[in-house]
């Protein structure tokens, strides 16, 4: 029985034919994706490929102009307030910029979801906050304000806040960007531990190859508003799609460009 559940895990997030625009500009042009229970799904793509936009749509913050997103069996955009609230209690999010509330201390930020959704007493909440801050090596920074932290520390505090409710579903936007290699490796370890110990389903948006290959069960590559491919780390590594290989090998888009053309482009003359 347990075996069957592992071979055919039901989708926790189901995305169908998703089209998302900013004004007239179409950023995502028809995305289909399935995220399975207990897996780490890494969404990759170059800068500006719409990864954050995709994540915001999954979270129900940005309405799609077409298609739908089902989270834990409910359409997150059309669900009533109560259902959406229930869904969000099972989700944890760490935004690209951290998004810590600037008027609250680091500890208060991490405690915020506990305060809003549980009836734990002050002492228990403090202990849970410390535990989560210790996870991300921020023990002792509880009373500092977000403005007093470095960028990487803000990110780690946001990570602690995202996991404080032990959510079923976790979303991370660029967890390791801007962190030193050691901390970034530690965060990767943490993500894997959450998956193994808590069976958490984790969606990570990133353009850091190394970290993506290390943590991903499956990778989905976004490009030009579409899913270029979805598959295991091996499958993505061995893909013969040129755009994916460009991304993997850090090749600039038009590597072959003769000197004359380059000069013309710089000066804006079409001679």
């Amino acid at each position: 029985m347990g075996n069957r559940a592992q071979t055919a895990p039901d989708p926790v997030v189901q995305v169908r034919d998703l089209v998302v625009c900013y004004g007239e500009r179409e950023i995502l042009k028809g995305i289909d994706l399935e995220i399975r229970r207990g897996e780490v799904m890494v969404v990759m793509g170059g800068s500006g490929s719409g990864k954050s936009t995709f994540l915001r749509t999954l979270l129900g913050l940005k309405a799609p102009s077409h298609g739908q997103v089902e989270v834990l069996g409910h359409n997150i955009h059309t669900a009533d307030r109560r259902t959406r609230l229930a869904l969000r209690r099972q989700m944890g999010v760490a935004f690209q910029g951290g998004a810590l509330l600037s008027s609250l201390s680091v500890g208060e930020n991490v405690r915020l979801p506990l305060r809003a959704h549980t009836r734990l007493d002050e002492n228990t909440m403090r202990i849970m906050t410390r535990l989560k801050l210790e996870l991300v090596n921020l023990a002792g920074f509880e009373d500092m304000m977000p403005a007093e932290l470095s960028g990487g520390m803000v990110k780690r505090a946001a990570f602690a806040r995202a996991v404080v409710m032990d959510p079923k579903l976790l979303f991370f936007d660029e967890p390791s960007a801007g962190l030193d290699p050691v901390t970034s490796a530690e965060l990767d370890e943490l993500i894997l531990r959450l998956r193994d110990a808590m069976k958490t389903t984790i969606v990570v948006v990133t353009h850091e190859l190394e970290s993506a290959f290390k943590i991903a069960d499956r990778i989905s590559v976004l490009g030009e508003g579409r899913v270029l491919m979805t598959g295991s780390v091996e499958a993505v590594r061995n893909s013969d799609d040129e755009r994916i290989q460009n991304l993997l090998n850090r090749r600039p888009r038009d590597a072959v460009l003769d000197g004359d053309a380059y000069l013309r482009r710089l000066t804006g003359t079409d001679a």
Binding site: R88, G97, L100, P113
Partner: protein
């Protein structure tokens, strides 16, 4: 020509859209205000924020407004030989009109703009999105305490303005021009009725609501501004908008209440 019509239609639609959003936000915040639980700590913090920011400027501007009023009234009343009415005219002008309007304008300049910028920054840095993702209603958490604080503090600040203004009138009328102290305060006691105080109170309550509503809504909907507003530039733009809009709303509301109650 068609382009002009198109522009007019576009602006009209956007204005209606924005008005509707702001009304909806107010309604949601009102629901949050009427339904417990409350967070007394954050309400007190907001009152402190509005009060401390505005107190000094209220006292200074109240003093000078009272002095200028007394100076002008003294001159005019002198021509008709009815100087003993100085106390009541000064007090009435302050309590009915200038107190609520000037105090509200000062609060806009000091606290309203800061409030708008604060919420705007929270919007651009995804703090409001983070609240929503944590299942915390931003209307209850962010907006409601500010509106409650505004509705409570603006009347208090207005009465401080009135009192300091009357002292300013006293300084000019009694201390400088040598009017008798008894005449100044007696005419005030005789001339000011409950009606006048009520009018000032209603105005300042309304202004407190309008100031916090416009300031928070402008910041809250920063991302939906026409033509897009982003980052620091967007915050500064909506803050300016909020100040101008609040000032217009205060002056218009002042006229409206005056017309209805007179």
């Amino acid at each position: 020509m068609t382009r002009l019509l198109y522009r007019i239609g576009d602006v009209t639609l956007h204005t209606l859209d924005q008005a509707g959003r702001m009304a909806l936000m107010l309604a949601r915040s009102m629901v949050a205000i009427l339904r417990p639980p409350y967070d007394p700590f954050s309400i007190v913090r907001q009152i402190h924020f509005i009060g401390v920011r505005s107190l000094l400027v209220i006292v200074v501007s109240g003093l000078f407004t009272g002095m200028v009023l007394a100076l002008q009234f003294y001159n005019t009343l002198d021509r008709f030989g009815s100087m003993d009415m100085l106390g009541s005219t000064t007090a009435l002008a302050l309590i009915r009109e200038l107190g609520p309007v000037m105090a509200a304008l000062m609060v806009v300049a000091r606290a309203g703009s800061a409030m708008c910028a604060e919420i705007g920054i929270m919007r651009t840095s995804e703090q409001i999105d983070a609240l929503e993702c944590m299942g915390i209603d931003p209307h209850r958490f962010l907006i409601a305490p500010k509106i409650i604080a505004g509705v409570l503090s603006v009347p208090i600040l207005t009465s401080i303005f009135d009192v300091v203004g009357i002292i300013g009138g006293y300084l000019v009328g009694v201390v400088i021009f040598g009017l008798s102290e008894g005449a100044y305060f007696d005419s005030m006691a005789a001339g000011v009725e409950w009606n006048d105080v009520a009018m000032g109170l209603y105005k300042s309550l309304l202004f407190g609501l309008v100031i916090t509503w416009i300031a928070t809504a402008k910041g809250y909907f920063l991302h939906l501004e026409r033509g897009g507003a982003f980052g620091a530039e967007g915050v500064s733009r909506v803050t300016t908008d909020a100040v101008v809009l609040s000032a217009i709303a205060i002056l218009f509301g002042d006229y409206l209440i005056g017309a209805v109650m007179l």
